[in-house]
């Protein structure tokens, strides 16, 4: 057994996210949420759907009005800003491996938002948290080529760390892409999507997540919202197409082409159920005087 894998390297994360903030601003919504939104009704739009998603995680993690909340993989800070701005959270801490994201966020965030350029592994908060939210980071926590046992062990280390950072009874609201209708014994022939977005990484499966939480966190709720991701990816694709020339001007023809291909392929994979979008609520169980 090799050493437990502790997540994709900073270089791999930067490969994807440090394209330049201008590029993302062109086709993401104004909150800069680069993860699946939550859609409602036929007249919904991307920004409203993203804000609904931010609210959902606050509600699931019971983070409203909390003293301290942690966001693992905070991106450009949509969730952090929403926590302190709309839900009265006193102090919000975000972890990201991307320098460009941290710089962007530090320039716009109020004083009670703290950004750390680091991964979850080895993080030692000064005080425990009331709630943890992690959206679109879990996908990076296991590497391509690990055995199923090593996969689960890497996830278990993460859940164990979350447990130790939470106050008794505290919750983790987790959102991640996962493999769905893809056989375990037949590897993907076309790894374009996985390699494009998640270099060095391998996606989880629901059963592996469940296994890894055993004796660490209780799973309270699971949602499969892949339909939401089809709409989100289509919305991003349409926005990128609509402002294609601007996107090429701040990046390159090759990059825009790669993103167009990836957004569309990803939408198809979600539509067919090969990939799914999981939203899980987990809770730390504490029995006073347990023996």
């Amino acid at each position: 057994m090799t050493e437990t894998y502790l997540g994709a390297s900073p270089a791999a994360i930067r490969h994807h996210y440090d394209v330049g903030n201008e590029f993302w601003q062109i086709w993401l919504d104004p909150t800069m949420s680069y993860s699946c939104a939550m859609w409602e009704g036929p007249d919904d739009d991307l920004e409203r759907a993203q804000r609904r998603k931010l609210d959902y995680h606050v509600e699931q993690a019971r983070a409203a009005g909390a003293k301290r909340v942690l966001d693992i993989g905070c991106g450009w800070g949509a969730q952090l800003l929403h926590l302190v701005g709309a839900h009265g959270v006193q102090h919000a801490v975000g972890l990201t491996l991307s320098d460009a994201q941290a710089q962007y966020l530090r320039a716009i965030a109020p004083g009670n938002v703290e950004v750390c350029v680091r991964g979850w592994n080895g993080y030692q908060p000064t005080e425990p948290f009331d709630a943890i939210i992690s959206v679109g980071a879990f996908e990076h926590f296991a590497r391509y080529g690990l055995s199923p046992e090593e996969h689960i062990e890497a996830y278990r280390r993460f859940f164990s760390a979350c447990r130790s950072w939470l106050k008794p009874g505290g919750r983790l609201s987790l959102q991640t892409i996962a493999y769905g209708d893809i056989p375990r014994d037949r590897p993907l022939r076309d790894r374009f999507i996985v390699d494009h977005v998640f270099p060095e990484s391998e996606l989880p499966r629901l059963a592996d997540i469940a296994r890894a939480t055993e004796m660490e966190l209780e799973i309270e709720k699971v949602r499969n919202d892949r339909g939401d991701y089809v709409k989100t990816l289509r919305a991003w694709f349409d926005r990128l197409r609509a402002r294609r020339a601007d996107a090429v001007a701040v990046s390159s023809e090759e990059l825009v082409e790669r993103y167009e291909r990836y957004l569309r392929m990803f939408a198809y994979s979600m539509e067919l159920g090969a990939f799914t979008l999981l939203r899980l609520t987990m809770r730390r169980i504490d029995l006073p005087g347990r023996w």
Binding site: L188, R189, D190, R234, R261, R264, M265, A267, Y268, S269, E271, L272, A274
Partner: protein
């Protein structure tokens, strides 16, 4: 709106390109998987088709209409929307 023959020709060209055959060799009535396409090719095909017909399409089309003839027919008739 693209015609049946335009879509049929485009599909045959794509399949020929991926399978390394000539366009004339491609049987328009054979199932895509029997022509040598796999699920990754099927989603790629839909991406190309969306650009070709100029409207969003469902990724399940190559399964609902599993031959070049059936798929081209349904797209030309607008059944697939």
């Amino acid at each position: 709106m693209k015609s049946y023959s335009e879509i049929e020709a485009m599909l045959a060209e794509q399949v020929a390109h991926w399978t390394g055959k000539s366009v004339d060799e491609i049987d328009r009535t054979r199932r895509f998987d029997h022509l040598g396409l796999d699920s990754a090719d099927a989603v790629r095909l839909i991406g190309e088709l969306e650009d070709f017909v100029g409207r969003p399409l469902s990724a399940s089309l190559p399964y609902t209409f599993p031959t070049i003839e059936q798929l081209a027919r349904s797209l030309a008739n607008g059944d697939a929307d």
